[in-house]
Amino acid sequence: MLRVSAIAESVGVPTSSLCCEGFLGQAKTTSVGLGFPNLPVACVPGHVDVQSEQHLFDNVCNVTVDQVIQNLTGDIPVAVQAKDPAPDDIVFSGSFEAVNRLFIENGWSDGLPIVPPTKAKISEFLGFTDYDGDHVIGRLLPDNRLATVWNVAVNGVMAGCRPEYMPILVALAEAMADPQYGVEHSGNTPGAETLIVLDGPLIRELDFNYEQGALRDGFQANTSIGRFWRLYLRNVAGFLLHENDKGSFGNTWRVVLAENEASLKRMKWPSIAQDAGIRESDSAVTISRFTGGNVIVSVFGDSAEKCLPYLADALTTHTTWELIFTIGFAQGTYRPLLILSPLIAETIAASGLSKKDVQQWLFENARIPAWRFEQYMTGWTNLVPGKRSLNDFVRLGKAPKLYAGTDKDRLVPIVYEPEHIMIGVSGDPMRSNCYLFVHNGMLGFPTTKPVVLPRDWHARRRAQD
């Protein structure tokens, strides 16, 4: 909403953004990064979702309208931007404990101790990239701060990464800065958390866990890079709880999920990165935001035919309000991610199915009645205002013909296209459990970036021994 106001203001149209009371602080901090530090905001008392029409009407008439008039006609105060210290300024000297207190008191840490980002540590990290420290990767909302190779290194040091993770960290910052991903949505209320999927030779080379316990902390590479992601969102993009990160619950950062390349190779299935056009010889990160998901326990069956129905059921059962990212709120941006254990993947592959075949089968079979889809859009939630049916969306040209029809019981797919159901292979190779991630649509869209190694990568790695 503020983003639209910023666009309007940028072409000289006065705006007044309506904002529920609990979000005023967020509005004020968010507007900074939009280049309009004082975007005028009008308060709607309380939250509209729990107000009767009369109550809402009274609130708007008694409070909001006056503020809108003031916003559109009054003076807007002049803004003075603060200066940050220069990137290589030494801002503090002290013991480990004192450094950590400084970082925690000032909101620069996630609450755990950080590794003090000394110049020496930072230069070790910079030694693992061909970029200069001041190379600009992009600009990150909401704080509109520059993502630079230097501040990637700083946050990497803090997170407990090793210097040789630097190429991966840079790729992650590039992905975060890609408009396709939509980092500016990272503070929205569903509080979805990013998952980083890693593919390519670096999985083995840098000792990532890609087998049993793939989603649990315990391996330095997976854990510290996952932590880096959150620290970077905090310290560079500028997402802070109780300010502009309004995740109602949220959850802790996820560790990096590495795929089981050997299993993929045996089945001749492409990795997630290869699906996105990355060469097999390259490593790449794929980021995407997931609201939640579930483990699919004890998939039972010795063939694709026997295993797939349970997986399709997981897709339809756990995908609920997120359907608005398929139709309603956004069009065709829902990208659920199914992680198959090598055991199940290879059982399915042994039936002669390619990854595309599996996606096609799930697309055709993971379907729900139209009434249920519509219930999530306009019944139980008000996420898609206007009370339009799926059929209306087809008629408006905002949904594929597949969704047309007036029979409320007709079965409709949960995604536009078979390949929108993403599939990866990881986890305990000796257990028949799978995992489904439910996706946050356009508000954290899958974005893949290749990891670019420095020219003398191998020499530098050897020099570490």
């Binding site: 005023l24 602080g25 004020k28 901090t29 507007s31 900074v32 530090p37 004082n38 105060p77 803004a79 003075v80 931007q81 603060a82 200066k83 940050d84 210290p85 801002v91 503090f92 002290g94 013991s95 404990e97 004192a98 207190r101 400084l102 008191e105 000032n106 909101g107 704080d143 109780h242 300010e243």
Partner: protein, 406 residues
């Protein structure tokens, strides 16, 4: 307060705007333009973060010195707002550190609970005073207070904090002998906290942003409790619709506190002079502090507070002939530019000190002395203001107070 390594962790008390900017940048520019940098040479020179570590053998003294040179004081030494002291202050409110009460004009620093607490610590407040400070801040952030005007005007106006309810006794806020000072920690520091907030969050720095011609000692602190025990009338906050047993703060705007030894006759005599000129110009609301002895004599004569107001309204009028002769009227604000009620009254020969009798704010305070002293505090500016806010206490208040006393 220093940690095991001799480090003092202080919360930066300066105003940060909603856009992330710091008001000190503007203050530095204004000071530079006006050649006033000597008074606070380190204005704007501090790390732009929440908490700053200060080291050294006497970190408290160093912090005090830094604060003075950065212009974060009223000229008196301040208590270093350490993270622990600030946190303890916030425990005595029902708010979170990040809650925002509003923006303090004119430079619009955000009044976060933490920044308010830091300034209250600096002022020397005990933590149990914090709910009173917060109620006072809520009152001055009411648009009717016109913080922008109060801070930037060339008049010498200051907010007066009047506390009512049982909390005044609980916190030992003086309402009796010497209530306007000095000597009582609550009166001294609650009013001072509000001033530091206006300086450090609003940027009302004299000469650079605040252009009060001469200022007044009431700009250091101006806080009293009403002497409810000795008042024959209903307490002040009940006039705002609150029950007598609730705790409340009333904010008025005063240009000065003029001592008037005598009775209502003498008050009326002072009211009907140029002392009321600015107030008349803006239809303002003066504060009149009536001594307990005088109040009880008036009550014995059967006069209610409204009767006293009416009497003062009728008898405290500025003769029109004086008005015509005044510099204010003859040189500055000519006929036709005064409120309609003023010019109409002038035709009748005398101008009341207020537009309506209800505009006169009456508070009973002071010691029980036979030759009583009253205070006439003429008001300033637009819009006419008198703002009452209930004081909100956190859950578990009695225990908090009891533990703090130990």
């Amino acid at each position: 307060m220093q940690d095991s390594q001799g480090m003092l962790w202080i919360v930066i008390p300066a105003g940060q705007q909603a856009n992330g900017g710091w008001i000190d940048d503007t203050l530095r520019e204004r000071a530079r333009e006006q050649g006033l940098t000597a008074q606070a040479p380190l204005t704007g020179e501090f790390p732009r973060q929440r908490v700053e570590p200060v080291a050294g053998p006497d970190a408290e003294a160093r912090a005090r010195d830094l604060f003075t040179r950065r212009g974060w004081t009223d000229g008196l030494p301040v208590v270093a707002p350490t993270a622990a002291r600030v946190k303890n202050m916030i425990r005595f409110s029902d708010r979170k550190a990040t809650d925002v009460l509003g923006e303090v004009d004119p430079l619009r620093g955000l009044a976060t609970i933490e920044k308010l607490a830091a300034n209250a610590v600096m002022a020397g407040c005990r933590p149990e005073y914090f709910p009173v400070v917060l109620a006072a801040v809520e009152a001055v952030l009411d648009p009717a207070f016109n913080m922008n005007g109060v801070q930037t005007t060339d008049e010498n106006v200051a907010p007066m904090i009047i506390v009512n309810g049982p909390i005044a006794r609980e916190l030992n806020i003086n309402s009796s002998f010497g209530a306007l000072g000095p000597g009582w920690q609550a009166n001294a520091t609650i009013g001072r906290a509000l001033r530091l907030i206006m300086l450090n969050l609003g940027g009302g720095r004299p000469g650079t942003v605040s252009f009060a011609g001469i200022g007044q000692p009431g700009r250091y602190t101006l806080c009293i409790a009403e002497n409810e025990e000795m008042s024959p009338w209903p307490p002040l906050h009940t006039e705002a619709g609150l029950a007598a047993e609730t705790n409340a703060v009333t904010i008025t705007r005063v240009e000065s506190t003029i001592n008037v030894t005598g009775g209502v006759e003498e008050i009326a005599s002072v009211m009907g002079t140029a002392a009321s000129a600015f107030q008349i110009m803006w239809s303002g609301r003066p504060t009149i502090i009536i001594a307990p002895a005088t109040a009880s004599r008036l009550a014995q004569q059967g006069m209610s507070k409204d009767d006293v107001r009416r009497w003062l309204f009728d008898n405290g009028q500025w003769p029109a002939v004086q008005w015509h002769k005044s510099w204010f009227k003859s040189q500055l604000v000519k006929e036709g530019n005064w409120p309609e009620w003023v010019e109409r009254a002038a035709l009748g020969g005398a101008i009341p000190a207020t537009e309506k009798p209800e505009d006169i704010i009456i508070v009973v305070a002071g010691g029980d002395v036979p030759i009583a002293q009253q205070v006439y505090a003429p008001s300033w500016g637009f819009p006419p203001a008198r703002i009452t806010r209930e004081i909100s206490l956190p859950d578990g208040w009695p225990e908090l107070i009891a533990n703090e006393a130990n």
